[in-house]
Amino acid sequence: MANHSNMTQEQNKFVKKQHKEEMKQQVISFALMILFTLIAFGMVLLEIGSVFLVPTLLLLAVIQVLFQLYYFMHMKNKGHDMVAVMMYGGLSVAILTIITFTTIIWW
C-alpha cells in the first residue's frame, strides 16, 4: 500500500488520464451495444426470413456480452486471469447444458 499513499501529483494525473481513456472506450462499447440491439430488433421486425437470422441474432448477443464482460466489467484489465478461467469454465458447462437441452431431451 505504501506506493499508493505517497503517489506523486504526476502519477495521480497519469492514473486519472488512464481512467478517462477507459471511460471513452466504455462509452464507445455502449454505443456499439445499442447499435447491435437495434440491428437485432430491426432484423426481427423487418421479418427477414433467412436461415441465417437466428445465428446472426445469437452472434450479436454474444458480441454484446463480450463487450459487457471485457469493457464494462473490466475483464480486459490486469489481474483477471483466474476470473477468466472461472468464467470460461462456467461458460463451457453452460454451453454443454444448453446443447443437451436442445438435442437429447424427448420431444
Binding site: I34, L60, F72, M87
Partner: protein, 206 residues
Amino acid sequence: MSHEDVLNPKQLPHDPEKATLEGKNKFVGFWFFLGGETVLFACLFGTYLALNRSTSGDNTPEHLFGLELVFIMTMLLLTSSLTSVYAMYHMKNNDFRKMQIWLGITVILGLGFLGFEIYEFVHYIHEYEFTFRSSAFGSAFYTLVGFHGGHVLFGLSWIVALMIRNSKRGINLYNAPKFYIASLYWHFIDVVWVFIFTVVYLMGVV
C-alpha cells in the same frame, strides 16, 4: 493495516476495491460466484428451450410477445449498465457525490425495468390467462424471466442499501469493494438480459 487506514485512508489508491486483502477476496470470490450463476441461468435457459413449444391453446410465443415493450426494457437496462460504469469511474476518482448520483440514476432505470416487467406479467395473466400453471411453456417462461427479475430486485435493494449506509462517510477501503461487486452484479444482470431478449423474445417471434 489499521482500522483507521481502512475507514479514513489519507489518499485513496486508484484501485480502492482491490487495495485490501478483504477487498481482493471479495472481488475474486464474487467473480467466481458469477461463473456459477452462468451455469444456473444456462440450466434455466436449457429448460426454457426444451419446453418453449409445449404451449396450450393460443398462448404461443408468437402470439404473446410484443417487441415494443421488450425494446424499451432492453434500453433501460442497457443504459443502467452504462450509468453504473460511470458510478465506478467516479468511485476510482474518489468523487463520492457523483458516484451516488450515477448509482441513483442506475436505480431509477432498474426500477423502470422492473415496473415494465411486472406490467408485462400482469398483462399476460389477465389478458391472455397465460400463467405459471397453464402450460409447461408458461412454467418455463415465468421461471426464467422471473429469476432474472428476482436478480434485478435483489440488485436494486443491494445498491440502495449501500447508498444509504454510506451516504455520510464517502468512499473508503472498506466500502469500495462492496460498491464494486454490487456493480459487477448489476452488469451480470444485463448480460443475462441480453440472452433473454434474444433467445426468449426475438427468437420467440421469428
